[in-house]
């Protein structure tokens, strides 16, 4: 089947098998390998992308369900070669270690800041509760999101 949707602010078309997941479409057809596959069942959040303004697990969305959707991946949040404040602050705050959870973590935080530019620590924790990190530790991640919120708001 053929689908049309918006990917990182560009209109795109893809010819897909109906059993293809959004995650596979992004990684294998569009070569956007920032989005990671972890658990494949919606528990780890490594595959998180933005779909119509909301954070979703791309392992639980079929590509065929994305007709007309707006998808944003980790590759789509930088501007003119300049990293998004979230990306900058993850680097600066030591919120990255192995980096596998990072794209999903940042996309969850990105979705949070879209809806709530000034989140409390509890709101940040809630927003990233569906993203597992096994090495960095959540403290630095929460710090990075808090710092970014202040910068994005300016």
């Amino acid at each position: 089947m053929e689908i049309r949707f918006t990917l990182n602010h560009n209109s795109v078309t893809a010819v897909i098998e109906p059993n293809l997941r959004l995650l596979d479409l992004l990684r294998n057809q569009f070569h956007l390998t920032g989005t990671k596959e972890g658990c494949s069942i919606g528990e780890c959040g490594a595959c998180t992308v933005i779909m119509n303004g909301k954070a979703v697990n791309s392992c639980l969305v079929l590509a065929g369900q994305c007709e007309g959707a707006e998808i944003i991946t980790i590759e789509g949040i930088e501007k003119d070669g300049k990293l998004h404040p979230l990306q900058e602050n993850f680097l600066k705050s030591g919120a990255i270690q192995c980096g596998f959870c990072t794209p999903g973590m940042i996309m969850s935080a990105y979705a949070l800041l879209l809806e709530n530019p000034n989140p409390t620590e509890e709101e940040i924790k809630d927003a990233i509760a569906g993203n597992l990190c096994r090495c960095t530790g959540y403290k630095q991640i929460i710090d990075a999101v808090e710092k970014s919120a202040k910068e994005v708001e300016k």
Binding site: M1, N19, G42, M51, N57, L60, Q65, S108, A127, G130
Partner: protein
Amino acid sequence: MIPVKEILLPRSIDEVCRLLHNNNGSSKIIAGGTDILPGFHIESPRFKNIERLIDINNVKELKSVSVDNDVISIGSAITFSEIISNQILNENLPLLVKASKTIGSTQIRNRATLGGNFINNAPCADSVAPLLVYDAEIKIKSYNSEKVMKLQDFLVKPYGTRLNSDEVVTHIMIPLPSKKYVGDFYKLGRRRAVTISRISLAYLIESVNGIINDLKIASGAVTPIGTRFYDVEQFAKGKILNDDSIKEIAIKLGEQILDVSGIRWSSEYKIPVVQHVCYQLFKEIERGSNLIK
């Protein structure tokens, strides 16, 4: 392995019904997909022969919330995130909103739907206990029929409902609850966030001058499917809200749960917990403290 060979994107309920007409089981409705996709991966027999998925996310009628003649009507494809941010539901069905906040993660709540939760009918489906105490009914449509059924009659067994393969649940209908009731939803999992319920309880109570006038109480996870406890409700009616009667009600609830679920390996742990939770919840009412109204 995902067996799907076709995905269809209808835009109206009528179109959904046409697509389901004469369905031999190879077509299935998908909304959030948060149960179906993991089900495919484990080759669950429930999803094994599905060749055609009918995605209902573009059917606007299935996403609406409205109040008409004192009945709240909720489209079955509403997501838990949409429930949490909906003003009508926050004002009138706070137990459903509270339960919705405890379901999965943000990513799951952004996709998973209310209809999907009880149609999948896992024992731990967190929306079921609140829906049962709110006396929810559901509207079911097919190509040439339409019916309304009580939710509790629709739910048959774990992962089993009365939904036929050519039918779609279109709406959940709840009589506008009287403001005289207070209540709460309680969920216990193995951890605090993104957890699967081991025990959940929902209840609504109306008390006048310290006497219980009416009680509605339902459980999830600790019973094979979400269950209302009419015997406990009858037992509680007319009782004075004091420590002794609250203990009696809590003990009665534990007995009723054992009746429904039978003795399991976890009973020795779960039943006292349920009883204690029930006791604590009712003590809140006795104290007249800040319950959800």
